[in-house]
Amino acid sequence: MNLKFKKYSVLPGFGLTLGYTLFYLGFIVLLPLAALIIRGSELGWSGFWQVISDPRVLASYKLTFGTALAAAIINTFFGLIVAWFLTRTHFPGKRFIDSIVDLPFALPTAVSGIALTAVYAPTGWIGKPLMDAGIKVAFTPIGITIAMIFIGLPFVVRTVQPALEELELELEEVAISLGASQWTTLVKVILPMILPSLITGFALSFARAIGEYGSVVFIAGNMPMRTEISSLLIITKLEQYDFLGATAIALGMLIMSFLLLFVVNLLQSWSSSRLKGV
């Protein structure tokens, strides 16, 4: 086999830059992560399982993944509408609205956390009317979901928007000229074309919601068994100097999110390879 490690290039500096990249990557990212995995493995399988299967931990996993899933689904739906709105309708001030979508990226999570709480608390701007209607938002899973929607929305919009922009208008024109209705064109032509980016957007917003802490912790209420997310439980364990417990919960979270991401990645490459025929 004539496989070489690297293709020849006349440009200099490969060894130096790659060496530095690997060193920095190793020191900042890989070494600390290795600590997590190796410390976690000290627990052993049974120890790990013991921590994970604790009802309080299980409840936090259920809550975290459940609300994250709900938020990701809502974001995928509304994100698609917002992306369509931003690419297909034209009105003055569109670029301004377009940059607002990035707000959750730019706003520090603690700020969004206390702001969302102020909005949705029983005395808050929206929380009060909702409370009067009998719906309690803050300090319930609904509040957690809202915070996760806030933090995950830009991921969907920013992955779907370019796909919609790059879509060839000819495709829609062909479909319509062949006699398809607007609705059929949307469902049979446009949606399948942007499906890969929709899946990616869903996965990114899901992953972000699972790990989110700052914007969730204020609105969550943090009642054990009911509104305690896994990230907070890790902190609680740390404050009790239960490092191994914290490590095990963290590992459990990581394993589950990586499995999810892997499945979504496969799904995504399957749906895009169908389009590209690779």
């Binding site: 600590a35 509304f78 206390i114 979270m253």
Partner: protein, 280 residues
Amino acid sequence: MRSKELKRGLQPPLIVNIIISTVSIIFLALFLVLPLVVVFGEAFRQGVSVWWGSIAEEESLSALRLTLFVAAIAVPLNLFFGIAASWALAKFDFWGRNLIITLIDLPFAISPIISGLIFILLFGINGWIGPWLIKHNIQIIFAVPGIVLATIFVTFPFVARELIPLMTEQGSEEEQAALTLGANGWQTFLRITLPNIKWGLLYGVILCNARAMGEFGAVSVVSGHIRGETNTLPLQAEILYNEYNFTAAFAVASLLAFLALVTLALKFFVEWKSNKLETV
């Protein structure tokens, strides 16, 4: 005769367009704009002087200083790394390239709390290097070095992931041309590559800086919340909030929200600038 421009592609009925626009605007207003308005509303509820009083407190000022200090270390380090990594990964084709790109993205996929936890496991009392550090009287966890490390970790990918696709797309023909004209590696980088990536670079730095100043979860784990010493602005806002000192909490939060608005404005400017360059 007035010529009417023919619109292309799908033309949903007007009512559908109206529904889509209304839903989008209400959704964005409710979920994104309202919280921002609330921050400023609550911060200035009792007037500017109360707001200023909360900011000018020694604890808040020291939190501001620490936040700026941490960003001033983390951003340049990650900037330097981003340039080196994108040069190696975008200009060369080698085995394992995609694996490294995925590894660079790792900190994005990891919960901020776990990002803080890993440094505790490494440098904490029970950590790998912890006992050695105690023996030599070096404190990393619950001190500024820990905050800096955690911040570097969570902001690690920003510059690199902005530059790698950009430089891959630009290819290396211009660099090759410079080399055939007798330029050396440094001249090629400084005179050709750097001007071509400057907007992408700035974009990455802006995002990196926003996250570095605003990071909460990871910093919260390693900081120890020592007032006036290891509290950054977001941590200070949290403490004030938990003490039911809402006006002060929102005053501090308004500083960070202002930072976010500046970030968005800069981002807008850079996008506009680089779009303009592309379309000319």
